[in-house]
Subunit: 156 residues, 2 copies
Amino acid sequence: MPKYGRGSCWWAGRFRGGGYRLTMPRQSILEVLDNASKHLSAEDIYLAVHKIYPNVGLTTVYRTLDLLVQMGLVSKLDFGDGRARYELSESSKGVKQHHHLVCTGCNRVIDYTDFIDEEIKLLGRIEKELSKKFNFKITNHLIRFYGLCNECQNKK
Amino acid sequence: MPKYGRGSCWWAGRFRGGGYRLTMPRQSILEVLDNASKHLSAEDIYLAVHKIYPNVGLTTVYRTLDLLVQMGLVSKLDFGDGRARYELSESSKGVKQHHHLVCTGCNRVIDYTDFIDEEIKLLGRIEKELSKKFNFKITNHLIRFYGLCNECQNKK
DNA sequence: GTATAATTGAAAATGGATACCATTACCAAT
DNA sequence: ATTGGTAATGGTATCCATTTTCAATTATAC
């Protein structure tokens, strides 16, 4: 009997195809991410997984997240508060892309999807030109706004 | 005789006006930033300052940088390699804005000014709308591209 | 000068992330 | 089924940029 059961989830194929094993820790980390409504830190994920599978270690969470990022299934986000956050990448979920609005007061993050099409269009155009000019193979871009949220404007 | 000489630099007024003292450590940190041709880490700055004023501590460098960022004289940049970089903010230098192209292979950063006007225009428009929609007081934005530089594409 | 508050710096603490390494799970070929 | 090789795991120790602490020093107002 295999110790690690195999779910039949949409990501299973990505693992097989990449030559990676879909183990229980990986499976459960993906499930946590799939059910998350917000961006989770590595520790958030560790705690959530740990509740169900207490023998999954923090190291494995970090390693798995790195792997998932490398596979393109997960996006690693750094909002500048000293700990990275992770979310299923949009292409994975088949969801409309979004960008972020970050409150520098309380670190709250708001996802927005407005103007995304315009943003993507401009970015795509710039990307093409910059690639040529600097001989850079661009893989990723970032648009983000920083400021104070409703609550933090009225504090102090 | 004051131990800390006072330069008559453009930033002196900003200090006085803000109720801050313009001390020698602060003065020298600003000079290092002013002469820098690239983004410097806190340690870079510490070493540069330390060469001239060996009794300036790393703690003070960090504290001063925080202050300068808060005053708007300096921009803090996080390229994801685990240490922050600092540069005089464009408005301080009266220079054309630029954005960054970051190599995920070697962490090299290329500044580009192409398309900046278009970027700024779009960002300004979006900014206005998002401010209204989320009641967010936006203070800052970020556009950045990640990828592999010329050298890193050919490695491996 | 003196008082007062700001500023400093050395050392210690913090905390997210990583390296190390012995152990375990998986898979393919016998 | 057994085996041998490789991938994956998890606990601990460690790294390292950044903060905190706190006593000593310095700048400014009086």
